[in-house]
């Protein structure tokens, strides 16, 4: 079937969803959303998969608007990758939503939700394949508005409305910045991307910088980059549990898409400067994101901050890629871009999983506060298991997928040893250290998120009596968990696929050539490897499985050049095999030798000998993350206000109540000064309005005089 037809079918399914939701009763809506959402996602996967795996593409001009140019759609491999990830996220997210939506039944209009959802679905499909600035901006704008409406879906809560407004405002600012970038690029009058790319070649250095900064920070709003991400945690927290997976898994990627499309593809940087900016901003975003994630006690907010962290890692890797491209180290650039896109793919999968699990916990216990949860593994074992998979993935532990991409990202940073300039090397080293710290903190963060909510004792009635998650929630989570595992053990299959999208931005260099040596004898490139090299790795089993698996090999490996003669290598596949064998072996040994002769005696847990262990006495999430809060107090700058204190006599304090406030570092340093200044200026102007008619006449006269003087002398 030709691709435009598949595209049309996808959009028609979305349309059908909108039309049917107008007709159907509210109680039927969730099923409709689940079914049609899944069908549309499958069609989307077919469409993008065909392009991503086989390289077919299409380019259609829809119609031409006078003075503004043609509206065109074009699907290349870069778009296909983003569409494919969206499909992978939307498929489980739609099914999940169909189960999760019932909690709004009778309270909010499900019809509205469904219409907005499918409209957003359509824009998500169209944005990556729109090939001119006009349609791109129109779609981008409608996406912003639709997201605003969906985030503000539970509009009776004041906080949600506020979060929505902030998001809308900053989103508009981002769109304007992006529009300005496009206008700067459209020098020869055409708004089509192809023409812009051609026009970009002759652009001067100032114009390049301005396009880079405008597009980078404009798209950075959606991606969640410092300093324009203050909307993100609030919006994610306010968004309905069924929608937030889409927000984190699909729309965040579009911000990255914009940066890759404009800064990587349309106008690749010629100097390392822009890349370094992206690298630094990415690293700062990552560390701030994980710091705030670690100290959150609301699961959803925690995950939102962790999305910021992941966006930061992706951007840092992209920035490294830009630097390598500018300095003409194309294979290294391919590695960096592979790391970035791989990380993005992984983030979409595991974050969707985690948000689905959190949504399930929320709807089954009524709270997302980690300090009120606990012990959920006993009442909802499957959800707990899937959350654990997600947490292991995001904490970058093998054999799950987060490990592959974070490992690649850190290795990319180390590859800067190949560069000539010491200054750039220092920036890379510092950013690499920050990213390593981020990775370590993310382990802390997700140990807390999992252990404090799923293990131990239930800290509230609701958590103790939660029911098992229904199949409509566990099946999507299972699907995502499986993807986490598969993407984790098969990097050697994923990287060659990522090469398609990478090729145009890395000057046709291929990450697969740099990263996956063709160890398997069946591979046509096998003979390119030096025989001694193969023999070296033969001894440690690099060729185990070569006759059964269709790949270049199962080892990810890069051999540094003359300036950096080191080999880095890993194989999550073999790691997984060894891990499984070790676990199995331990189990067998235990069963056969040890436990056959001994009975297990189960007694109550050791609680220090107290009369009754109360949930209040156990470790809380806040307590767990407090060391991080203390160590990084310079960043958090908590404020502590003593509200009341009851005293007995004069000195003995019976009770102290305190309110702890925390102003996000970005609010403190950037947002608050701006809003204070704006308020002060507004107050200054307000003083002119004191209501005397004479004064207003004087203003008018003065304005007239000024205008006349200007007209005379200018």
């Amino acid at each position: 079937m030709p691709m435009p037809f598949v595209l049309a079918a996808t959009l028609l399914t979305c349309g059908a969803g909108i039309v049917l939701s107008l007709v159907l009763d509210d109680s039927r809506i969730p099923a409709l959303l689940g079914c049609l959402g899944a069908i549309a996602s499958l069609l989307l996967l077919v469409l993008s998969g065909a392009s991503l795996f086989t390289g077919t593409s299409f380019h259609e001009t829809l119609w031409t608007i006078p003075q503004l140019g043609a509206l065109t759609l074009s699907l290349d491999r870069l778009s296909a990758l983003f569409l494919f990830i969206s499909g992978l996220v939307l498929l489980p997210a739609s099914v999940f939503a169909s189960g999760n939506l019932f909690r709004y039944l009778g309270k909010y209009s499900l019809r509205t939700y469904c219409i907005l959802y499918f409209a957003l679905f359509a824009t998500l499909v169209l944005i990556p394949i729109s090939a001119d600035a006009l349609s791109f901006l129109m779609l981008w704008e409608s996406m912003s508005i639709l997201i605003y409406l969906l985030v503000n879906y539970e509009h009776e809560e004041k906080e949600h409305t506020r979060a929505g407004y902030i998001m809308l405002a900053i989103g508009e600012a981002g769109t304007i910045a992006v529009a300005l970038a496009f206008i700067t690029l459209a020098r020869n009058g055409s708004l089509e991307f192809a023409a812009m790319k051609a026009a970009g070649i002759g652009l001067g250095e100032e114009a390049r910088w301005s396009v880079f900064l405008l597009a980078f920070f404009g798209f950075g709003v959606k991606a969640g980059l410092v300093p324009v991400n203050f909307w993100l945690p609030q919006a994610y927290t306010s968004a309905p549990g069924s929608f937030v997976p889409v927000l984190a898994g699909a729309t965040l990627n579009l911000g990255i898409y914009g940066i890759v499309r404009v800064n990587g593809y349309l106008l690749p940087a010629l100097t390392p400067g822009p890349g370094l900016v992206a690298l630094i901003i990415g690293s700062v975003t990552a560390i701030l994101g994980i710091l705030y994630a670690t100290t959150q006690s609301d699961l959803k907010t925690l995950l939102a901050h962790s999305s910021i962290e992941n966006a930061g890692i992706i951007t840092a890797a992209l920035g490294a890629g830009f630097v390598f491209v500018a300095l003409k180290h194309y294979p290294l650039a391919a590695i960096a871009f592979a790391a970035a896109l791989y990380q993005m793919l992984n983030h979409s999968i595991y974050k969707t999983l985690l948000f689905c699990a959190t949504g399930t916990v929320d709807s089954h216990t009524g709270t997302r506060n980690i300090d009120r949860l606990g012990g959920l593994i006993k009442v909802m074992p499957l959800t707990a298991g899937f959350f654990l998979v997600g947490a292991l993935s995001i904490a970058a532990l093998p054999p799950f997928n987060g490990f592959d991409s974070e490992w690649l990202t850190l290795q990319t940073m180390l590859q800067s040893a190949e560069l000539a300039s010491t200054g750039i090397k220092i920036v890379f080293a510092i950013c690499g250290a920050i990213l390593a710290l981020t990775a370590a903190l993310s382990v802390t963060c997700f140990v807390k998120a999992f252990a404090m909510s799923f293990l131990g004792m239930s800290r509230s009635e609701a958590a103790a009596q939660a029911e098992r998650a229904p199949r409509v929630a566990t099946v999507p989570m299972g699907f995502l968990a499986l993807l986490c595992f598969l993407l984790g053990i098969a990097p050697t299959y994923v990287i060659p696929i990522l090469d398609g999208p990478i090729a145009p931005i890395a000057q046709a260099a291929r990450a697969a050539d740099a990263l996956v040596p063709p160890f398997f004898a069946g591979n046509p490139h096998h003979n390119e490897l030096p025989a001694a090299f193969v023999a070296d790795f033969h001894a440690i089993g690099a060729q185990v499985g070569q006759s059964v698996m269709p790949a270049r090999g199962l080892i990810v490996m890069h051999r540094g050049g003359a300036a950096n003669p080191v080999v880095f290598a890993m194989s999550t596949f073999y790691t997984a095999v060894v891990l499984a064998l070790m676990l199995l072996g331990t189990y067998v040994v235990f069963r056969l030798i040890i436990s056959s002769s001994r009975a297990v005696d189960r007694r109550v847990v050791w609680d220090g000998g107290i009369r009754r262990l109360l949930p209040e006495m156990t470790y809380t999430g806040t307590g767990f993350s407090n060391p991080v809060r203390v160590i990084f107090e310079a960043v958090f700058r908590p404020t502590m206000v003593e509200d009341t204190s009851e005293t007995v006599g004069k000195h003995f304090r019976a009770a102290i109540r305190r309110t702890r406030g925390e102003n996000h570092v970005l609010d403190r340093l950037i947002l608050d000064p701006i809003s204070d200044a704006a308020l002060q200026a507004a107050n200054g102007f307000a003083r002119m309005h004191h209501g005397f008619l004479n004064a207003y006449a004087v203003y008018g006269l003065a304005a007239l005089l000024v205008a006349l003087l200007v007209a005379r002398f200018a």
Partner: protein
């Protein structure tokens, strides 16, 4: 830099030589009453002087139940008639009908959880001495642990009060098998001066299966060490009930 290395080397080893050799330092043990051959009227009198009923009349004199003796010295001072007094410190013995000592795998690495079930501080203070450089129980492979999950031996000191029954039971339950219980001090063995009263059950043995008992009030560190050696199976146990030996050769059988 301080010259602590040189100082340490110059000082040499100051730890007790027990259990390789006898410890002979003055005051290392208060001693214990010994079973004494006495005429029956004197025996009657002495038995009456003992506040805890540790002394018992037998045919030929006075027997001593070491588990009850609280070292009040009433049977050896303040009167012209006294029982014999024995020195030494190898006092620990097996409680009746208990599991017995550990086998070889535990001999050189024993982790001990100390539970104070109502101690006046005396026994605990003696237990504390075991960790100091003089008694240095680490050299023998004995280690204190704060959690029952790691413990092989539960060392109980103090009269078992009502409030400490539950914690003691929980600690015992939380220990992995194989496990042993050592009770140290007269209070833990028999209730000591509290005996069986409204506040005290009259010995840990009535509540938990005690394996090794260390008499003394408090038992000196070496006696506790002996108790640990006994439970580890590295020293033979002593008898806890001293009888007058029926050995007078001149008497016809």
């Amino acid at each position: 830099m301080t010259n602590w290395v040189i100082k340490g080397l110059r000082t040499g080893v100051k730890s007790t030589r027990y259990p390789r050799a006898e410890e002979t330092a003055a005051g290392c043990s208060p001693g214990l009453p010994a079973a004494t051959r006495l005429p029956s009227d004197l025996a009657e009198m002495i038995v009456a002087r003992c506040p805890t009923g540790a002394l018992e009349r037998s045919l030929e004199g006075v027997d001593v139940d070491l588990r009850r003796c609280v070292h009040c010295f009433r049977c050896t001072r303040g009167s012209n008639c006294t029982v014999d007094w024995s020195g030494g410190y190898d006092w620990a013995g097996f409680a009746t009908e208990r599991t017995g000592a550990f086998g070889p795998p535990f001999g050189r690495s024993l982790h001990i959880l100390v539970v104070d079930t109502g101690d006046c501080g005396a026994c605990l203070s003696e237990v504390k001495q075991l960790n100091n450089p003089y008694y240095n129980m680490h050299r023998l492979g004995f280690f204190l642990t704060p959690t029952p999950r790691h413990a092989d031996v539960l060392l109980v000191v103090g009269a078992l009060t009502e409030q400490m029954r539950l914690p003691l039971r929980k600690a015992y339950d939380a220990m992995p098998t194989p496990k042993r219980v050592v009770a140290a001090g007269a209070c833990a063995l028999s209730g000591g001066v509290f005996g069986r009263s409204f506040i005290c059950s009259g010995g840990v043995g009535e509540f938990l299966p005690v394996d090794v008992e260390v008499p003394g009030n408090p038992p000196p560190p070496l006696a506790i060490l002996h108790g640990l050696m006994v439970v580890a199976g590295r020293k033979p146990p002593a008898s806890l009930y001293r009888r007058v030996e029926n050995s007078s050769a001149d008497e016809p059988r």
